[in-house]
């Protein structure tokens, strides 16, 4: 309760400062001024989601975006799939770039508003996933080493999907020759461990439907 009260107060002070700095008060009718303050204050204080987000995200710089009830893997998946496709086409430099972006997205995910189940999964998985992403990012030019870490990373990502859900249909693939799994956005097999030399090794083991 006090947290909500405090954030309302902060909101009002910010608003007053805003009007004071940016508008010519002499021209402004005091009536409009009052209505504007009351209306936006009510809006800010009666939206529990928003005030909740404010108490969780303590960084004052963070823009008060609409905090979703459940965080999504959006950016993490984009960069993981980019990485996967780069490895499948033997492009080690692009894999390194994608993995650096994945690393950032993974770190960002931890700053979002997470449900308690998501939080638990994140704290179990993130250290390992970040470490794997870092190694792949640092080893542009050494695709063998990148692929070694891609194995663990893929398992981490799969477990994250299980906890966070997915907004698109995904496939979990397995290749017995590489003894490794990966997650794909397409049904066709394009092997990220063996690359172009053995592109079709593997099969879909599981379809992960969106939810």
């Amino acid at each position: 309760m006090t947290a909500i009260g405090l954030s309302c107060l902060k909101h009002e002070i910010a608003l007053l400062l805003f009007f004071y700095r940016n508008l010519n008060l002499k021209v402004m009718k005091p009536f409009i001024f009052m209505v504007a303050i009351i209306a936006t204050t009510i809006a800010a204080c009666s939206n529990p989601q928003k005030s909740n987000a404010k108490t969780v995200i303590s960084s004052p710089q963070s823009s008060p975006k609409e905090a979703p009830q459940n965080a999504s893997l959006g950016a993490v998946m984009t960069h993981y799939l980019h990485l996967k496709n780069a490895l499948a086409s033997d492009n080690t430099k692009e894999a390194a770039t994608a993995s650096a972006q994945l690393h950032t997205a993974l770190a960002e995910l931890g700053k979002q508003l997470l449900s308690s189940a998501q939080k638990k999964a994140y704290s179990d998985i993130s250290a390992d996933a970040l470490e794997n992403a870092q190694h792949i990012a640092d080893n542009g030019g050494n695709i063998k080493h990148q692929r070694e870490h891609f194995q663990g990373l893929s398992e981490d990502i799969y477990d994250l999907i299980k906890a966070f859900g997915t907004s698109q249909t995904l496939y979990k693939d397995y290749c017995p020759m590489a003894k490794a799994t990966w997650v794909s956005e397409v049904k066709d097999i394009k092997n990220p461990y063996l690359g172009k030399s053995m592109s079709t090794c593997g099969s879909v083991k599981e379809t992960i439907s969106k939810k």
Binding site: D124, I125, A127, D128, N132, K144, E148, Q151, G152, D156
Partner: protein
Amino acid sequence: MTRLKTMILGGLVGAFVMIQFIQPDRNDSGQVSKQSLTALYHVPDNVTQILQQSCANCHSNNTAYPWYTHVQPVGWWMARHIRKGKAELNLDEFAGYSDRRRVSKLRSMKNQVMDGVMPLTSYTLIHRDARLSKEQKQQLVSWLDNTIDSLNQ
């Protein structure tokens, strides 16, 4: 001309003597860790031996310093390897890793040994007894394989 040469040589010797006084911190806890890999899993003697002689100097809290590491800049070079090596893998703090990371580290160990990346070549060039024979590699890898499998169940 000879005077100049003597001065340069003297300068170099002087610099060499000077840097001997800059000793890096020693990685030597002097304790047997209860958190170590060998305390966590059943590790057969031959594998313990391999880890001890080929990996522990850079991947544990107790480095057995050969005499030449007391000579700078070799000691600095060693200290840097230890710092980076321990950040990646610390055999004395293995029990502190989560289940997920234990599997991850064991897999990395296997990959590094099979790829011939570890122990570092720059190190085995001087530190000859850290080199792994084919049999030793095989023993280490098969133990790692078994342990990874048992953890994945």
